[in-house]
Protein backbone atom coordinates (compact mmCIF):
# COMPACT_ATOMS: atom_id res chain seq x y z
CA UNK A 1 0.00 0.00 0.00
CA UNK A 2 1.68 3.26 -1.13
CA UNK A 3 2.04 6.21 1.24
CA UNK A 4 -0.09 9.36 0.98
CA UNK A 5 2.59 11.18 -1.03
CA UNK A 6 2.96 8.21 -3.39
CA UNK A 7 -0.82 8.08 -3.87
CA UNK A 8 -0.83 11.81 -4.69
CA UNK A 9 1.96 11.26 -7.24
CA UNK A 10 -0.01 8.44 -8.90
CA UNK A 11 -3.12 10.65 -9.14
CA UNK A 12 -1.03 13.51 -10.60
CA UNK A 13 0.43 11.12 -13.17
CA UNK A 14 -3.00 9.77 -14.15
CA UNK A 15 -4.17 13.37 -14.56
CA UNK A 16 -1.10 14.25 -16.67
CA UNK A 17 -1.40 11.19 -18.93
CA UNK A 18 -5.12 11.87 -19.49
CA UNK A 19 -4.50 15.55 -20.22
CA UNK A 20 -1.81 14.63 -22.79
CA UNK A 21 -4.27 12.42 -24.72
CA UNK A 22 -6.85 15.21 -24.69
CA UNK A 23 -4.61 18.20 -25.50
CA UNK A 24 -2.18 16.64 -27.99
CA UNK A 25 -4.26 17.15 -31.18
CA UNK A 26 -4.88 20.80 -30.24
CA UNK A 27 -1.17 21.39 -29.53
CA UNK A 28 -0.08 19.71 -32.77
CA UNK A 29 -2.62 21.64 -34.86
CA UNK A 30 -2.65 24.96 -33.07
CA UNK A 31 -5.32 26.44 -35.30
CA UNK A 32 -7.87 24.41 -37.22
CA UNK A 33 -6.92 26.29 -40.40
CA UNK A 34 -3.28 25.21 -40.07
CA UNK A 35 -4.15 21.50 -39.98
CA UNK A 36 -3.50 19.61 -43.23
CA UNK A 37 -6.45 18.53 -45.41
CA UNK A 38 -5.86 14.98 -44.33
CA UNK A 39 -6.49 15.89 -40.66
CA UNK A 40 -9.69 17.74 -41.59
CA UNK A 41 -10.79 14.70 -43.52
CA UNK A 42 -10.14 12.47 -40.48
CA UNK A 43 -11.89 15.01 -38.23
CA UNK A 44 -15.05 14.69 -40.37
CA UNK A 45 -15.10 10.90 -40.63
CA UNK A 46 -13.73 9.88 -37.24
CA UNK A 47 -16.78 10.76 -35.07
CA UNK A 48 -19.06 7.98 -36.38
CA UNK A 49 -16.15 5.52 -36.34
CA UNK A 50 -15.27 6.54 -32.77
CA UNK A 51 -18.90 6.07 -31.61
CA UNK A 52 -18.82 2.56 -33.13
CA UNK A 53 -15.59 1.89 -31.23
CA UNK A 54 -17.30 3.00 -28.00
CA UNK A 55 -20.24 0.66 -28.60
CA UNK A 56 -17.83 -2.28 -29.08
CA UNK A 57 -15.83 -1.09 -26.05
CA UNK A 58 -18.97 -1.26 -23.86
CA UNK A 59 -19.61 -4.82 -25.03
CA UNK A 60 -16.01 -6.03 -24.74
CA UNK A 61 -16.59 -8.44 -21.84
CA UNK A 62 -19.27 -10.49 -23.63
CA UNK A 63 -18.29 -14.10 -24.18
CA UNK A 64 -20.26 -15.87 -26.89
CA UNK A 65 -18.76 -19.21 -25.87
CA UNK A 66 -19.85 -19.07 -22.20
CA UNK A 67 -23.38 -18.65 -20.80
CA UNK A 68 -25.35 -16.39 -21.14
CA UNK A 69 -23.62 -15.93 -24.57
CA UNK A 70 -24.28 -12.19 -24.74
CA UNK A 71 -28.04 -12.77 -24.92
CA UNK A 72 -28.95 -10.16 -22.24
CA UNK A 73 -26.82 -7.57 -24.08
CA UNK A 74 -28.37 -8.50 -27.44
CA UNK A 75 -31.91 -8.19 -26.03
CA UNK A 76 -31.04 -4.91 -24.26
CA UNK A 77 -29.68 -3.43 -27.49
CA UNK A 78 -32.70 -4.66 -29.49
CA UNK A 79 -35.03 -2.95 -26.99
CA UNK A 80 -33.02 0.28 -27.23
CA UNK A 81 -32.86 0.19 -31.05
CA UNK A 82 -36.50 -0.83 -31.62
CA UNK A 83 -37.86 1.82 -29.24
CA UNK A 84 -35.52 4.44 -30.62
CA UNK A 85 -36.49 3.79 -34.24
CA UNK A 86 -40.18 3.68 -33.26
CA UNK A 87 -40.50 6.53 -30.72
CA UNK A 88 -37.29 8.56 -31.33
CA UNK A 89 -37.22 9.40 -27.59
CA UNK A 90 -33.66 9.17 -26.27
CA UNK A 91 -34.52 8.92 -22.58
CA UNK A 92 -37.26 6.35 -23.12
CA UNK A 93 -34.96 4.15 -25.23
CA UNK A 94 -32.12 4.29 -22.69
CA UNK A 95 -34.34 3.76 -19.63
CA UNK A 96 -36.31 0.85 -21.12
CA UNK A 97 -33.16 -0.82 -22.45
CA UNK A 98 -31.34 -0.52 -19.12
CA UNK A 99 -34.29 -1.74 -17.05
CA UNK A 100 -34.83 -4.75 -19.34
CA UNK A 101 -31.13 -5.57 -19.13
CA UNK A 102 -31.13 -5.33 -15.33
CA UNK A 103 -34.21 -7.56 -15.06
CA UNK A 104 -32.60 -10.08 -17.43
CA UNK A 105 -29.27 -10.33 -15.58
CA UNK A 106 -30.84 -10.29 -12.12
CA UNK A 107 -33.78 -12.67 -12.63
CA UNK A 108 -33.47 -14.60 -15.89
CA UNK A 109 -29.80 -15.40 -16.61
Amino acid sequence: MPTTVQALIIIAILALGTAITRFLPFVLFRSAAAAPHYVHYLGKLLPPAAISLLVVYCLRYISFAAAPHGIPEAIGILVVAALHIWKKNTLLSIAAGTVSYMLLVQFVF
Partner: protein, 233 residues
Protein backbone atom coordinates in the same frame (compact mmCIF):
# COMPACT_ATOMS: atom_id res chain seq x y z
CA UNK B 1 -19.78 34.10 -21.25
CA UNK B 2 -20.93 33.96 -17.62
CA UNK B 3 -24.12 35.88 -18.49
CA UNK B 4 -24.94 33.43 -21.27
CA UNK B 5 -24.27 30.37 -19.15
CA UNK B 6 -27.62 30.03 -17.26
CA UNK B 7 -29.62 29.98 -20.53
CA UNK B 8 -27.11 27.52 -22.01
CA UNK B 9 -27.42 25.23 -18.97
CA UNK B 10 -31.21 25.24 -19.32
CA UNK B 11 -30.88 24.33 -23.02
CA UNK B 12 -28.19 21.71 -22.40
CA UNK B 13 -29.76 19.98 -19.40
CA UNK B 14 -32.25 17.73 -21.30
CA UNK B 15 -29.37 16.47 -23.49
CA UNK B 16 -27.38 15.51 -20.40
CA UNK B 17 -30.05 13.47 -18.57
CA UNK B 18 -28.89 10.05 -19.89
CA UNK B 19 -25.36 10.87 -18.75
CA UNK B 20 -26.75 12.16 -15.43
CA UNK B 21 -28.22 8.71 -14.77
CA UNK B 22 -25.17 6.86 -16.03
CA UNK B 23 -22.63 8.99 -14.21
CA UNK B 24 -24.50 8.97 -10.91
CA UNK B 25 -24.57 5.17 -10.91
CA UNK B 26 -21.07 4.64 -12.30
CA UNK B 27 -19.77 7.41 -10.02
CA UNK B 28 -21.43 5.76 -7.02
CA UNK B 29 -19.86 2.43 -8.02
CA UNK B 30 -16.45 4.15 -8.22
CA UNK B 31 -16.96 5.86 -4.86
CA UNK B 32 -17.90 2.56 -3.21
CA UNK B 33 -14.78 0.86 -4.58
CA UNK B 34 -12.45 3.73 -3.61
CA UNK B 35 -13.81 4.03 -0.07
CA UNK B 36 -13.64 0.24 0.26
CA UNK B 37 -9.89 0.51 -0.40
CA UNK B 38 -9.47 3.21 2.23
CA UNK B 39 -9.67 6.27 -0.04
CA UNK B 40 -12.41 8.48 1.41
CA UNK B 41 -14.29 11.36 -0.19
CA UNK B 42 -11.40 13.90 -0.31
CA UNK B 43 -9.44 11.43 -2.48
CA UNK B 44 -12.50 10.71 -4.60
CA UNK B 45 -13.14 14.44 -5.07
CA UNK B 46 -9.50 14.98 -6.08
CA UNK B 47 -9.37 12.20 -8.71
CA UNK B 48 -12.81 12.99 -10.17
CA UNK B 49 -11.86 16.67 -10.55
CA UNK B 50 -8.30 16.36 -11.89
CA UNK B 51 -8.39 13.05 -13.80
CA UNK B 52 -12.07 12.93 -14.90
CA UNK B 53 -11.78 9.78 -17.02
CA UNK B 54 -14.10 7.01 -15.83
CA UNK B 55 -12.38 3.92 -17.19
CA UNK B 56 -8.92 5.08 -16.08
CA UNK B 57 -10.17 5.99 -12.60
CA UNK B 58 -11.48 2.44 -12.15
CA UNK B 59 -8.12 1.03 -13.32
CA UNK B 60 -6.42 3.61 -11.10
CA UNK B 61 -7.85 2.03 -7.94
CA UNK B 62 -5.56 -0.95 -8.39
CA UNK B 63 -2.63 1.35 -9.26
CA UNK B 64 -3.25 3.22 -5.99
CA UNK B 65 -3.31 0.07 -3.91
CA UNK B 66 -0.46 -1.93 -5.48
CA UNK B 67 3.31 -1.38 -5.58
CA UNK B 68 4.28 2.26 -6.35
CA UNK B 69 5.15 2.37 -10.06
CA UNK B 70 4.68 5.85 -11.61
CA UNK B 71 6.03 4.96 -15.07
CA UNK B 72 3.62 2.04 -15.38
CA UNK B 73 0.76 4.28 -14.22
CA UNK B 74 1.72 6.84 -16.90
CA UNK B 75 1.75 4.23 -19.69
CA UNK B 76 -1.60 2.84 -18.51
CA UNK B 77 -3.08 6.38 -18.54
CA UNK B 78 -1.84 6.97 -22.11
CA UNK B 79 -3.07 3.66 -23.49
CA UNK B 80 -6.46 3.54 -21.71
CA UNK B 81 -7.16 7.09 -22.91
CA UNK B 82 -5.57 6.97 -26.38
CA UNK B 83 -9.08 7.17 -27.90
CA UNK B 84 -9.20 10.83 -26.80
CA UNK B 85 -6.83 11.60 -29.69
CA UNK B 86 -9.75 10.83 -32.04
CA UNK B 87 -12.04 13.20 -30.16
CA UNK B 88 -9.45 15.99 -30.32
CA UNK B 89 -8.98 15.61 -34.08
CA UNK B 90 -12.76 15.56 -34.52
CA UNK B 91 -13.22 18.74 -32.47
CA UNK B 92 -10.39 20.91 -33.91
CA UNK B 93 -12.89 22.95 -35.92
CA UNK B 94 -15.75 23.01 -33.41
CA UNK B 95 -13.50 24.25 -30.60
CA UNK B 96 -11.63 26.85 -32.67
CA UNK B 97 -12.52 30.39 -31.62
CA UNK B 98 -13.82 29.32 -28.20
CA UNK B 99 -11.17 31.51 -26.51
CA UNK B 100 -10.79 31.37 -22.74
CA UNK B 101 -13.02 28.32 -22.23
CA UNK B 102 -11.11 26.21 -24.78
CA UNK B 103 -8.66 24.63 -22.28
CA UNK B 104 -11.56 23.47 -20.09
CA UNK B 105 -13.54 22.14 -23.09
CA UNK B 106 -10.47 20.08 -24.08
CA UNK B 107 -9.74 18.98 -20.50
CA UNK B 108 -13.34 17.88 -19.91
CA UNK B 109 -13.91 15.93 -23.13
CA UNK B 110 -14.73 12.44 -21.90
CA UNK B 111 -16.48 9.84 -24.12
CA UNK B 112 -19.94 11.05 -23.13
CA UNK B 113 -19.21 14.77 -23.59
CA UNK B 114 -17.66 14.06 -26.99
CA UNK B 115 -20.75 12.08 -28.01
CA UNK B 116 -23.19 14.81 -26.99
CA UNK B 117 -21.10 17.64 -28.51
CA UNK B 118 -20.66 15.93 -31.87
CA UNK B 119 -24.33 14.91 -32.17
CA UNK B 120 -26.19 17.91 -30.70
CA UNK B 121 -26.62 21.49 -31.91
CA UNK B 122 -27.84 24.15 -29.46
CA UNK B 123 -31.16 25.91 -30.22
CA UNK B 124 -30.65 29.04 -32.39
CA UNK B 125 -31.10 31.50 -29.49
CA UNK B 126 -28.39 29.84 -27.35
CA UNK B 127 -24.71 30.75 -27.63
CA UNK B 128 -22.73 27.83 -29.10
CA UNK B 129 -19.70 28.25 -26.87
CA UNK B 130 -21.78 28.58 -23.70
CA UNK B 131 -23.72 25.45 -24.73
CA UNK B 132 -20.54 23.38 -25.11
CA UNK B 133 -19.27 24.71 -21.78
CA UNK B 134 -22.61 23.86 -20.11
CA UNK B 135 -22.58 20.25 -21.38
CA UNK B 136 -18.97 19.76 -20.22
CA UNK B 137 -19.58 21.35 -16.80
CA UNK B 138 -22.82 19.44 -16.18
CA UNK B 139 -21.23 16.11 -17.10
CA UNK B 140 -18.23 16.66 -14.86
CA UNK B 141 -20.39 17.79 -11.95
CA UNK B 142 -22.56 14.64 -12.26
CA UNK B 143 -19.41 12.52 -12.14
CA UNK B 144 -17.93 14.39 -9.17
CA UNK B 145 -21.21 14.34 -7.21
CA UNK B 146 -21.94 10.70 -8.04
CA UNK B 147 -18.50 9.50 -7.00
CA UNK B 148 -18.54 11.48 -3.72
CA UNK B 149 -22.04 10.17 -2.98
CA UNK B 150 -20.73 6.64 -3.59
CA UNK B 151 -17.92 7.22 -1.13
CA UNK B 152 -20.32 8.54 1.53
CA UNK B 153 -23.48 6.46 1.20
CA UNK B 154 -22.21 3.49 -0.82
CA UNK B 155 -21.89 1.10 2.12
CA UNK B 156 -25.53 1.82 3.09
CA UNK B 157 -27.09 0.94 -0.29
CA UNK B 158 -29.31 -2.11 -0.22
CA UNK B 159 -31.03 -2.08 -3.60
CA UNK B 160 -29.58 -4.35 -6.23
CA UNK B 161 -28.03 -2.19 -8.91
CA UNK B 162 -26.38 -5.09 -10.75
CA UNK B 163 -26.53 -4.42 -14.49
CA UNK B 164 -27.10 -0.64 -14.18
CA UNK B 165 -23.83 -0.01 -16.03
CA UNK B 166 -25.74 -1.01 -19.19
CA UNK B 167 -27.04 2.57 -19.15
CA UNK B 168 -23.77 3.69 -20.79
CA UNK B 169 -24.05 1.00 -23.48
CA UNK B 170 -27.64 2.05 -24.18
CA UNK B 171 -26.50 5.68 -24.34
CA UNK B 172 -23.83 4.96 -26.96
CA UNK B 173 -26.24 2.78 -28.98
CA UNK B 174 -28.69 5.71 -29.11
CA UNK B 175 -25.91 8.11 -30.19
CA UNK B 176 -24.91 5.54 -32.81
CA UNK B 177 -28.49 5.40 -34.17
CA UNK B 178 -28.80 9.20 -34.18
CA UNK B 179 -25.56 9.51 -36.13
CA UNK B 180 -26.62 6.72 -38.48
CA UNK B 181 -29.83 8.61 -39.32
CA UNK B 182 -27.95 11.88 -39.85
CA UNK B 183 -25.42 10.40 -42.30
CA UNK B 184 -25.92 9.72 -45.98
CA UNK B 185 -22.94 7.36 -46.11
CA UNK B 186 -22.62 4.73 -43.42
CA UNK B 187 -19.13 3.50 -44.28
CA UNK B 188 -17.29 5.35 -41.43
CA UNK B 189 -19.66 3.88 -38.81
CA UNK B 190 -19.35 0.42 -40.37
CA UNK B 191 -15.55 0.70 -40.60
CA UNK B 192 -15.56 1.60 -36.90
CA UNK B 193 -17.67 -1.43 -35.98
CA UNK B 194 -15.69 -3.83 -38.18
CA UNK B 195 -12.23 -2.62 -37.17
CA UNK B 196 -13.12 -2.65 -33.45
CA UNK B 197 -14.66 -6.13 -33.60
CA UNK B 198 -11.70 -7.55 -35.55
CA UNK B 199 -9.19 -5.98 -33.11
CA UNK B 200 -11.14 -7.22 -30.10
CA UNK B 201 -11.14 -10.73 -31.56
CA UNK B 202 -7.39 -10.69 -32.33
CA UNK B 203 -5.94 -8.67 -29.42
CA UNK B 204 -8.40 -9.40 -26.61
CA UNK B 205 -10.24 -7.22 -24.09
CA UNK B 206 -7.20 -5.53 -22.55
CA UNK B 207 -5.27 -4.54 -25.68
CA UNK B 208 -7.71 -3.92 -28.51
CA UNK B 209 -8.31 -0.16 -28.42
CA UNK B 210 -5.05 1.07 -29.93
CA UNK B 211 -4.97 -1.57 -32.74
CA UNK B 212 -8.63 -0.70 -33.43
CA UNK B 213 -7.72 3.00 -33.74
CA UNK B 214 -4.82 2.21 -36.07
CA UNK B 215 -7.06 -0.02 -38.20
CA UNK B 216 -9.79 2.66 -38.39
CA UNK B 217 -7.30 5.33 -39.51
CA UNK B 218 -5.76 2.87 -42.00
CA UNK B 219 -9.17 2.06 -43.54
CA UNK B 220 -10.19 5.74 -43.71
CA UNK B 221 -6.82 6.52 -45.36
CA UNK B 222 -6.94 3.67 -47.89
CA UNK B 223 -10.49 4.52 -48.96
CA UNK B 224 -9.93 8.27 -48.75
CA UNK B 225 -10.53 9.11 -52.41
CA UNK B 226 -13.81 7.18 -52.40
CA UNK B 227 -15.01 8.40 -49.00
CA UNK B 228 -14.02 12.02 -49.60
CA UNK B 229 -15.75 12.10 -52.99
CA UNK B 230 -19.10 10.80 -51.82
CA UNK B 231 -19.02 12.81 -48.54
CA UNK B 232 -20.24 11.41 -45.26
CA UNK B 233 -22.53 13.99 -43.77
Amino acid sequence: MLKKLPAAIRAAFPHTIPVLTGFLFLGIAYGILMSGRGFGWPWILLTSVVVFAGALQFVGISLLTSVFDPLYAFLIALSVNARHLFYGISMLEKFSGTGKIKPYLIFGMCDETFSVLCSTEPPPNVDKRAFMLAVTLLHQSYWVLGSIAGGLIGPLLTFDTYGIDFVMTAFFVVIFLNQWRAQKKHSPALIGLGASAVSLFIFGVDNFIIPAMVLIVACLTIFRTRLARTGSS
